[in-house]
Symmetry: C2
Subunit: 344 residues, 2 copies
């Protein structure tokens, strides 16, 4: 468990693409981000108060998040120096970089001496079991998609937050690095060894009996030739009662693969339902989430309405138009009712 | 590449289940097994000549295979002592145990001093790429199954050997530990990190232009809730032109999961073809391989005939009745012809 709130590290970054994880946190969880730390040569900002380590500690920040990417995922010297200074000031450190904090002797030494924690969010926990497919108590929703990077994390977070606003207990279950930093916990599924994919999801979304929902962050796509195995194991481990289909209507081809077209929504729905039924025969699709950020609002609304009519499923852009209609379907249909009966 | 021939290690093993990998090699590749090494307290034998290290070296053996399992996959003291003695006698060492040879300082020191190699076949190579799904030259056959452990490795080996006997170039591509020791090369797919499953298969079965076939060893099942992600990534990475469906007709339930029944053959065929079409739209099923070892021969023959008629696919128990009818279908149909056209 990573302690919050966070101070977000921008360091010496020059390219907006390099601060993706820090920006993700600022966008998705401003409530747990106290400020940003950047050097004078960094032209970027997340519109958070700029703070040094002492000021951020005084403002309550507990963990410095190295939410940046750089060539090769290395921990460069400036980053190490800054992390050491932050630890001296009282911070734990969290990082999603390929180069592990725990592989850098100076950081390990300082953490031991000062009693600080080093969180490498790319490292799966060591005790992940093989999946067993046994039905467990509780209700689960999983976001799936036509492709990678079509808004699954954001949709899942929106659903979790909107459920809580309705007084329904809801937990976001993170499966990617940014998601883990958002939630303070989760599993970096892309780094789990192949035989343990479904077991990792069974572990991260255990049985629950409070009538609430686990909202599980999806990854990849059953139609992505690089990552479909991850998506398949995730689907089986999640045993979802409900699926939300995420889609980017202007994506020209599968991410990173110009030679692969996107699958259609009907095909995506059918493939995900077929695969999901192996571990939960009652699975249903409860909505479609579109990322319409590239379209004017009237076009986006018209597209949502058209897809909603075509598939008879609540369809929305969660960021622009909210997820209330999807929640109405989720809570109003027999998906919820069936699961309550089964676990009662 | 692991050098052959092998000396098979039984050590102090008492339980036949503990020498599974050594037995697999003795059964599947007697041509590369010079003898067995066992202590006086070991009541087991693989019906190979019992040899000490000097005698086995004199008979040409190059690698000692620690083809045993024990509690926790540990390298116990007797095993380390024996491995050290074997290295002194001139052997490389290969092991599929969880506890790595390369994590034992005495073995590492001896290997460096003596110029020997330590092969941990559970360690994937470090340079596995992300799969790209690009069509590559050459023809590929993949064995898939209704469940784990239904004869996929054995069927694949039989097909490779029978193809070679017909003068068709054929390479067995190993994806499991025993298979890797059989072939001397391959990828331990269950130990590959999730994001790299399909890329690992693209790497282990690269483009070929000699008119021959890659015969790829399947793993798991699309219907096994623990491992379907592995099977899915394998299917996409293999881009198979041809599938052979492997099945154990007396298996009571999915391996290790009494709460999951086996899928039917029709369902298995449909799911595998649907998933495989993502990376090779011309994929065809060319046969069904049954493990009939638990049935009398007349019953086994009747069952093969019945399933062959039902699915209009050559059906055989490769061990009992050979794979010639499956090869006839493979080489005689448009599967082979289409692939030749495409890669020409």
């Amino acid at each position: 468990m990573i302690e919050t709130p966070y101070l977000l590290y921008l360091g010496h970054s020059q390219d907006p693409a390099d601060i993706k994880t820090s920006r993700g946190l600022a966008v998705f969880r401003p409530d747990i981000c106290v400020g940003e730390y950047r050097h004078d040569d960094c032209p970027l900002t997340l519109e958070l108060p700029r703070m040094d380590f002492a000021a951020a500690r005084a403002a309550g920040a507990k963990t410095l998040v190295l939410g940046i990417a750089n060539a090769g995922g290395k921990l460069g010297e400036p980053l190490i120096v800054d992390a050491l200074a932050a630890m001296e000031a009282g911070f734990d450190i969290a990082s999603g970089l390929h180069h592990r904090l725990n592989a850098e002797p100076r950081l390990v030494e300082a953490a031991a001496r000062l009693g600080r924690k080093l969180h490498d969010v790319r490292d799966p926990r060591p005790d992940i079991p093989i999946g067993n497919g046994k039905k467990r108590a509780g209700k689960r929703l999983l976001t799936v998609g036509t492709d990678c990077s079509v808004g699954k994390m954001y949709t899942t977070l929106c659903l979790a937050s909107a459920l809580e606003k309705r007084g329904v207990p809801a937990d976001f279950r993170a499966t990617g690095q940014t998601g883990i930093l958002v939630a303070g916990d989760g599993v970096p599924l892309d780094a789990v060894v192949a035989d343990f994919i479904s077991g990792a999801i069974e572990q991260v979304s255990p049985a629950r009996d409070d009538g609430g929902w686990d909202l599980i962050e999806g990854q990849g796509s059953l139609y992505h030739p690089s990552f479909a195995g991850v998506s398949m194991g995730l689907l089986h481990g999640a045993q979802p009662d409900a699926l939300v289909i995420c889609h980017d209507p202007v994506r020209p081809h599968m991410r990173g693969l110009p030679h692969y077209p996107l699958p259609g929504l009907a095909q995506t729905i059918e493939a995900n339902l077929n695969a999901a039924r192996l571990t939960n025969e009652h699975v249903q699709v409860v909505g479609i989430a579109l990322n319409t950020s590239a379209m004017p609002e009237d076009e986006a609304k018209a597209l949502c309405a058209r897809i909603e009519a075509e598939f008879a499923l609540p369809t929305s852009d969660p960021y622009r138009f909210g997820v209330e209609t999807i929640l109405d379907r989720l809570l109003g249909t027999d998906v919820a009712a069936q699961s309550v009966t089964e676990t009662a």
